[in-house]
Each structure stands twice: as structure tokens, then as C-alpha cells.
């Protein structure tokens, strides 16, 4: 495969749009635009994530993180939730960081709480939600609380079974050679591993957005169970960056506020792009149990908080 790629890649590049006529259809172009935009949008955040993760493994002594994190998993969970709020960036940053935290001996439940909390309740997301909803404090507060509740609940549920799926698929850090060698090799490894799955996720997102007209879900509307289900599924399928989802939520006034809260709480913790990244970092068995659990908890948290605040 290595030879095939390195020989044919320059050939493809030199062909420079010789094939463009073959793909001259609205659907294919639409697919390519969405595929590339989802990939490029996530790229800077993924790079930030692998840099933090590589710094953790190259610069922080292996036992130090395990020593400072609280020994009782339940105590670690809220701390990780708040730590997650401090790392700015979208969901793509937090996956490699969480993977490295687990590898360094942090309790999986705490690392997973961090994984879920970081994208949902960081300052950038709070500000963009406030801007989109024009300062509607109840929506901003509801989103913050429901997201934190989701992260802490999933972490607590997971702490009862200290098991993070197939940990063997976590690629160990590169720990020999110079510090620079260790840092760049670990960063490069994490990037290629997670990036490949990101591309896979972007492929599915672009295909669904091209094949399934979004009017199908919009047509549901209202405030009943169907509306909540439609918004939850829309959040998973669209895989919108958590900085931008509030602008989409605000433009769907035919859905109740609670249904839109479900959209804002589910999107940053379970979507196709994220499931692909988690499968790449923690292994498929993990992702296949973690994503459904998170989905159910996120919907329940949003409904609970929504019924009180909205």
C-alpha cells in the first residue's frame, strides 16, 4: 500500500483536473465540498489535540498524572468536567487528549468525562450560543448544565466498570530517542491514526448530507417526542462543529426550545465524525458501547434540564 500511494499520488496531482468532466454533476461536487469542509474544519482542532496529547506524553513524567488525579473515580469526574471547560476547541481536540490521559494512568471515567465536557461547555461554545440566541440566558444556561450533567453522568456510569473497551488499540507513546523525536513521532502517530478516522467520518457525513434531503427531518417540527427524536438524530447526522450548531438551532423555530436543546447537547458528544474518531482512538468495541450510552444520557439530560429551565 505504501508504494502504491507514493507512486500514484504524484501521478494524480499531475493529472490536474483531467478527470474533472467525469465528476461534473451537482451531487458529486456537493459531496466533495461538504467532505472537504468537514475535514478542513476539524483539522486545526485535531492538530491542537495531538499537540497537547504529545506534550503530555513527551514532557509529563509517566506516573505524575496518575498520581495527581484523585484515586476515587467519582471524585475525579467533576474535576475532569471542569478541566474540560478550560481547553478551548471543538470535539476533535479532546479525543486524542483523552486517549493519552488514559494511557498515562488517569482513571478512564475521568478521562471520558473530560472527553464529553471539553467540547460542550468551553467558553467559545458558550459565547457562540449566546450570540446565536441573542443573549437568551436560559438557553445558554440550559445548554451548559445539560452538557455538564451528561458528561458527569456518563463518567459516573462508566466508573462502575473501569473498562474502556479494547485498550490495546491505543497506540503507545514513542518513548525513546530525543525529546523532539519522542514529541514529533507521538504527535504524528496520533494525528495519522485519528485523522484517518476523521476522513472516514467526513465521508459518511458528506454522503448522508448529499443523499438524504434535510427537509425530511425539518418536516417533523413541533414539540412532541417525534420532534425531540428528529433533532437528536439530526445532531448525530449533521456532525456540526459545536461552535456553529447554535446558529443552526436558532434557525429551526418550528421545533420547541427543548427539542433544540436536545440538538445542542447531543451534537458535541455524539456525532458521526466523533464516533469515527473514538473508534480510531479507543477501538470499535468501545465506540459501539460508549456512543449509544452517551446518546441516551444526553437526550435524557437535555429533557430534564429543558423541562426545568425552558
Amino acid at each position: 500500500l505504501s508504494r502504491v500511494v507514493w507512486i500514484y499520488l504524484p501521478v494524480v496531482l499531475l493529472s490536474h483536473r483531467a478527470f474533472a468532466d467525469l465528476f461534473d454533476s451537482g451531487a458529486v461536487r456537493n459531496w466533495a465540498t461538504i467532505f472537504l469542509s468537514v475535514t478542513l474544519q476539524a483539522l486545526p482542532f485535531l492538530v491542537l489535540g495531538v499537540l497537547v496529547s504529545a506534550a503530555l506524553s513527551a514532557l509529563v513524567p509517566p506516573t505524575w498524572l496518575a498520581r495527581i488525579s484523585p484515586t476515587r473515580p467519582l471524585a475525579a469526574v467533576p474535576v475532569a468536567g471542569l478541566a474540560g471547560a478550560l481547553l478551548p476547541g471543538c470535539e476533535c481536540s479532546s479525543v486524542p487528549v483523552a486517549g493519552r490521559l488514559v494511557e498515562r494512568g488517569v482513571p478512564p471515567s475521568a478521562a471520558l468525562t473530560f472527553l464529553l465536557a471539553a467540547p460542550a461547555i468551553n467558553p467559545v461554545v458558550i459565547v457562540s450560543t449566546a450570540v446565536a440566541f441573542r443573549g437568551d440566558a436560559s438557553m445558554v444556561g440550559a445548554r451548559f448544565l445539560a452538557s455538564l450533567l451528561t458528561a458527569v453522568t456518563v463518567g459516573a456510569l462508566w466508573s462502575r466498570r473501569q473498562d474502556i473497551g479494547d485498550l490495546r488499540s491505543l497506540v503507545p507513546a514513542h518513548e525513546h530517542g530525543t525529546k523532539l523525536d519522542a514529541f514529533t513521532t507521538t504527535a504524528s502517530t496520533d494525528f495519522v491514526q485519528a485523522g484517518g478516522f476523521l476522513v472516514l467520518g467526513a465521508t459518511i457525513v458528506a454522503t448522508l448530507q448529499t443523499v438524504v434531503p434535510s427537509n425530511v427531518l425539518d418536516a417533523v417540527g413541533g414539540s412532541g417526542i417525534a420532534a425531540v427524536a428528529a433533532m437528536a438524530v439530526l445532531a448525530v447526522v449533521l456532525s456540526i462543529c459545536s461552535e456553529a450548531d447554535a446558529f443552526v438551532a436558532v434557525s429551526l423555530p418550528q421545533f420547541s426550545l427543548t427539542a433544540r436543546l436536545v440538538f445542542l447537547v447531543v451534537g458535541p458528544v455524539v456525532d458521526i465524525k466523533l464516533i469515527a474518531l473514538q473508534a480510531g482512538t479507543f477501538g470499535r468495541p468501545f465506540a459501539s458501547r460508549f456512543a449509544p450510552l452517551t446518546f441516551v444520557v444526553a437526550v435524557a439530560s437535555a429533557l430534564l434540564v429543558g423541562s426545568v429551565l425552558l
Binding site: L1, S2, V5, L9, V12, L13, S15, H16, R17, A20, G26, R29, N30, A32, T33, I34, L36, S37, T39, L40, Q41, L43, P44, V47, S128, A132, R134, V171, E175, D181, T184, T185, A187, S188, T189, F191, V192, Q193, G196, F197, V199, L200, T203, V205, P213, S214, N215, D218, G221, I240, C241, E243, A244, D245, F247, V248, S251, P253, Q254, G280
Partner: protein
């Protein structure tokens, strides 16, 4: 995936990000404020990949090459990611063979929906009254027109006034009107939503679908809905129409 491949894939991904970020191609995919982040990410990736390749080449020369390369038992220090990593070359290949295009009429017809930007406020008065526009027709964003029409205090300002819009032509089978369309993106083209004005051509030939036009129009305030959305858009009458090239910044931002 050997360590040389690892470095190679990282360099290629970074170079692709840099190429997109340093040309106007980035505006087809992301909001402009994301551009510096993409430049930084691309640079970091290229440098990281070069460092990985460099270290590996030095190690090979010294005869201490990495296990995953020269066939020693791989589990001693296994740090090769799965073959899925090769997928990172796919975005570059797609960009080259399919080409780089903004969202077109296809996306608009997929997403026509009863979505609305109604509640956003806008001060058209300050803009329209402040300048004489050097005798030119004042240009407005499609999003501004949609917002203006939905605001009771702004609506009258559009009545009877010729304004200039640039947008994509989307046809929906009507014989005497087309939908002048722009996409609004919050973050990337993946979250794009169309905003549209129905332009009645009143006898002028309909422009080709998926082409860009500059249209001078007068909004028909009486006929336009108070809460315009994808199914019930703003309605305007055409004054003059001119084909234009797609703008380098094809999207509007909320």
C-alpha cells in the same frame, strides 16, 4: 505504516492544509476567521512530518532504525497506527480530481426548508440613508434583505427602493421567476443554510441554473411574507440582470 510513511502522510496533510489556507480555496469551505488556524495547523504538520522523517533517516544511517521499519518484532515498541491513516491522502485526491467548488444549486434544492433568520435585527436605515452610493445602486447581502423584511421598522425602508444583490441562480420550475440564493455558514460549508429571494423576471429571459448573477431588484414589500423562510421567501421584481463570476467569498456569515 512505517515511520517514513507516517512522516510522509503528515507532510502531505499539512501541505494540503497550507495550500487551501493560502489560496482563496479556503473560502469555499470555512468561514474566513478559521484561516489563520488552518495556516498554523498546516505549518505544524509539515514541520512535524519533516522531523519524523529526519529522525528516521538518521536512525537508519546509524543502524538503529525503528522496529516497525526493519522487521524486528513489532511489539517491542509498537507505534504504527492502523492502515486507516492512509485515508488522510483522500482529501487531496478529491480536491484535485473533483475540483474545488462552492456549494451550488444542488445543495439549495436539498435543503429548501422552512428555516428562518427572522429574529436577527439589522439597521438598514443607517446604511441606506447614510450614503448616496456615488449614484450606484446600494448593494445588500441576501441575508440583510431577509432580515430587513422580517423587521416591522425596517420593512418600509425597502419599499420601492432599487437594491443590488449578487447570488446563485436556483430554478424551481416557475416560468417567470428564479430564486436568487446565497448560503449562510456558521463555521464550515457543512452547516450551510440557504437564504433566498424570489426574483420575478417580468418577461426577461430566466438565467441558467447554477450561474452567478448580479441583480438589481425592488423588493415587493406588499407581497413578501413577514417571516420569510425557505418555503415562503422574500419576493422582488427584477430591474436589471447581469451575469458575474462567482465571488471569491461565496458565502454569507450570520
Amino acid at each position: 505504516v512505517s515511520r517514513l510513511d507516517l512522516g510522509g502522510i503528515t507532510v502531505v496533510s499539512g501541505a494540503f492544509a497550507l495550500w487551501v489556507a493560502l489560496t482563496d480555496a479556503v473560502l469555499l469551505y470555512l468561514k474566513p476567521s478559521m484561516r489563520p488556524y488552518l495556516v498554523v495547523a498546516g505549518t505544524v504538520l509539515v514541520l512535524t512530518g519533516i522531523s519524523v522523517i529526519g529522525h528516521e533517516l538518521i536512525a537508519r544511517r546509524r543502524g538503529t532504525a525503528d522496529a516497525s521499519v526493519d522487521g524486528q518484532p513489532a511489539d517491542e515498541h509498537r507505534h504504527e497506527p492502523s492502515t486507516v491513516g492512509w485515508l488522510l491522502v483522500v482529501p487531496l485526491v478529491v480536491a484535485v480530481i473533483v475540483g474545488t467548488d462552492p456549494l451550488g444549486a444542488f445543495a439549495a434544492t436539498r435543503q429548501v426548508a422552512n428555516r428562518t433568520y427572522a429574529a436577527d435585527s439589522i439597521d438598514l436605515g443607517a446604511y441606506l440613508e447614510a450614503s448616496s452610493f456615488g449614484g450606484q445602486t446600494p448593494a445588500l447581502r441576501v441575508l440583510d434583505v431577509v432580515r430587513g423584511v422580517s423587521q416591522a421598522d425596517q420593512r418600509p425602508l425597502l419599499d420601492g427602493r432599487t437594491i443590488r444583490l449578487i447570488g446563485l441562480v436556483v430554478r424551481d420550475g416557475e416560468a417567470d421567476s428564479f430564486l436568487l440564493t446565497r448560503f449562510v455558514i456558521g463555521c464550515c460549508a457543512g452547516d450551510a443554510q440557504p437564504v433566498q429571494v424570489r426574483v420575478r423576471t417580468n418577461g426577461t429571459d430566466l438565467p441558467e441554473e447554477d450561474t452567478w448573477v448580479q441583480a438589481d431588484v425592488i423588493v415587493d414589500v406588499e407581497a413578501s411574507p413577514t417571516v420569510p423562510n425557505g418555503l415562503d421567501p422574500v419576493i422582488a421584481d427584477l430591474v436589471s440582470l447581469e451575469p458575474v463570476d462567482a465571488p471569491s467569498e461565496p458565502y454569507e456569515y450570520p
